[in-house]
């Protein structure tokens, strides 16, 4: 096995082991953070190609609702099956929407993807069968007959999140070093030259869009299982804005950026909310401004500066 793969798996095992000793609130916070990290990992693929989606909430929410609805409908709480279904449904939808979206760039891509997530929001808010704007509760998950109870309850979702993160992390790390991965940056720099070199810009973007949707669906599904409650707010534009926020905070230069960004974001939000319940948004906004001004490549660039001696 390669060095990096070993490192990622090692980190995953360490996280799982640490999870056994963590207090409940931290397990929960990290589960949600990792789930968001998964979504942002997909966003990273798009952002490296110069496309900022302000609508990843669409797949995040869709994945969550898939888990919730399928759990009720098929009367199963098998976590793996439900999450797999969420990913499949998200990819299927992305396969259709992507055909249209991959014609757009810049702000139009951002706005158009936002429009789609707002459509889902609008539909969900009006659908009383799924609890309208209140959403509904998702039954606790189980895994191959193992029904976690009491203390080990949150650990199942946490374990799922860590395993998913390791899998996606290895994939993204390798993908970024593959020709398809490099093609993303080439598209961002100059599309016409990419076409001249014989690659299809359309196909490159389409693939990335599908991958991003799959990861967002995965993250949404895990969030639904972990939080036990879902509502249309997950498709609202502020949720998608949060994902872009996290991507910028962590940095898109490295696969670890989104995870670090997501954990930092959740910690920041939790503490900001605890310290001053009335101005936590302001604290988040100021943090975002500071990062844009002084760390334009995200928090990960600090790590790179130390390890590789790279200038900011």
């Amino acid at each position: 096995m390669k060095y990096a793969t070993t490192m990622i798996i090692g980190a995953g095992i360490a996280l799982l082991a640490a999870g056994l000793f963590m207090p409940g609130w931290l397990t929960f916070l990290l589960t949600l953070a990792f789930a968001k990290g998964l979504v942002v990992m997909g966003l990273l693929l798009l952002m490296r190609a110069g496309l900022v989606s302000f609508g990843q909430g669409l797949y995040y929410c869709l994945g969550a609702y898939c888990v919730g609805i399928a759990g009720d409908y098929f009367e199963t709480q098998n976590a793996l099956l439900l999450i797999l279904l969420a990913v499949v449904v998200c990819v299927a939808l992305a396969a259709i929407i992507g055909l249209l979206l991959c014609r757009y760039r810049d702000i139009f891509f951002a706005m158009f993807s936002m429009a789609f997530s707002m459509i889902l929001y609008g539909v969900l808010v009006k659908s009383s069968a799924f609890g309208s704007s209140d959403g509904f509760n998702v039954k606790p998950p189980l895994l191959f007959g193992w029904t976690p109870t009491g203390e080990s309850g949150p650990f199942l979702a946490y374990g799922l999140a860590v395993v998913a993160l390791v899998g996606v992390g290895i994939f993204v790390w390798r993908y970024l070093r593959s020709p398809m991965g490099y093609a993303g940056e080439a598209v961002r720099e100059n599309e016409i030259r990419v076409e001249y070199l014989g690659a299809s810009v359309r196909r490159i973007i389409y693939t990335k869009y599908l991958l991003a949707a799959a990861m967002a669906g995965l993250g949404g599904g895990i969030t639904a299982l972990a939080a036990g409650h879902i509502d249309p707010e997950m498709a609202y534009w502020t949720t998608s804005g949060e994902f872009v926020f996290i991507a910028l905070m962590g940095g898109v230069g490295h696969a670890a950026g989104p995870v670090i960004g997501a954990v930092l974001f959740e910690l920041l939000r939790t503490y900001a909310f605890q310290i001053s319940p009335y101005t936590w948004q302001m604290i988040l906004g100021i943090a975002l401004l500071v990062i844009i001004l002084y760390l334009p490549k995200g928090v990960w660039s600090l790590v790179e500066r130390v390890t590789k001696g790279k200038p900011l």
């Binding site: 459509i119 609008g122 975002l288």
Partner: protein, 298 residues
């Protein structure tokens, strides 16, 4: 027949409201290439400012018609202060960044302003219905419309005309068009682009606040109104073509009429229709209806 008239009137009223918001947004984008998410906060500031100024004014027992000037004054003061602070204090440091990064900068400003508004005005709802009820109602084909809403249509048309006049028939407006067309060349020719930016941003902010102040009498002003409004305004300007005032007018009419048709015929589809229309327009006109095509980078 009644239904058609109701739909048309509601649509046009809604459109005129949307236009005032979208005009500021599209103006700022056209000149500065900043898609300003904080525009929703300008709207909220205008609404809160208008509601509390009207409240103070009427509590003092002055003649009620003065309340309309209070609304205008709130928009002017609020928009100017916030616009100047943000442009001079913050955005100035960010020029030249990527458009998408600028969206996030304004997103951060939105987050900050949302809490600033809560700190100043609290979380309770404000009401300033007096200017709304004062004008009475008109019967039209058996339907009753608030005169205030009808007045809003004329105000909106006036704003549209002033903007068009200012941009196309004045010296400053023509200079501004030069900046829109090519920022660098305009700067070479001796136009003070920095000042143009500041002035544009303040005008845009005042328009946003004005939309809020004009709406305040008709709604209960409470936290979160800005966040809702901004995505509607986005839909409008994207349909019309970013940066085009004429486009914002057309976009507002399309969205307004589509929404009112949905509300009257099939209320569940209200939000769906707005973004559905936006998707439909973008599918056929990827840059929006009125946008100028830009050259591709080679």
């Amino acid at each position: 027949m009644k239904l058609v008239i109701a739909m048309l009137m509601d649509g046009v009223i809604y459109a005129s409201w949307l236009f005032v918001i979208a005009a500021g947004l599209t103006l700022i984008y056209g000149v500065m290439r900043i898609l300003n998410m904080a525009h929703g906060s300008f709207y909220a500031i205008g609404a809160y400012g208008g509601a509390s100024l009207v409240g103070f004014y009427l509590a003092g027992g002055y003649p009620p018609w003065g309340a309309y000037f209070m609304l205008l004054g709130a928009a002017l003061i609020g928009g100017t202060i916030v616009g100047l602070l943000i442009e001079r204090g913050l955005l100035r440091m960010m020029y030249g960044r990527d458009e998408v990064v600028m969206i996030l900068v304004t997103y951060a400003i939105l987050l900050i302003l949302e809490d600033v508004i809560k700190l100043i005005w609290g979380v309770d709802a404000y009401f300033a219905y007096q200017p709304y009820t004062l004008l009475g109602r008109t019967k039209l084909a058996g339907l009753s419309f608030a005169n205030y809403d009808i007045l809003l249509i004329f105000v909106s048309a006036l704003i549209c005309f002033v903007l068009w006049w200012g941009l196309n028939r004045t010296r400053k407006g023509k200079l501004l068009q030069a900046v829109i067309h090519d920022r660098d060349t305009a700067a070479f020719l001796g136009i003070n682009v920095t000042r143009m930016f500041t002035v544009t941003f303040v005008i845009g902010a005042v328009l946003g606040a004005l939309a809020g102040a004009l709406t305040a009498p008709g709604i209960s002003v409470m936290p979160g109104i800005g966040v809702e409004v901004i995505i509607l305004a986005f839909a409008v300007v994207v349909i019309g073509g970013l940066g085009s005032v004429g486009g914002a007018l057309l976009g507002a009419l399309i969205v307004g009429l589509a929404r009112s048709a949905a509300v009257h015929l099939y209320p569940d589809a209200e939000l769906f229709v707005i973004y559905g229309v936006m998707g439909l327009v973008l599918a056929f006109r990827p840059q929006g209806l009125f946008a100028i095509a830009t050259a591709r980078k080679i």
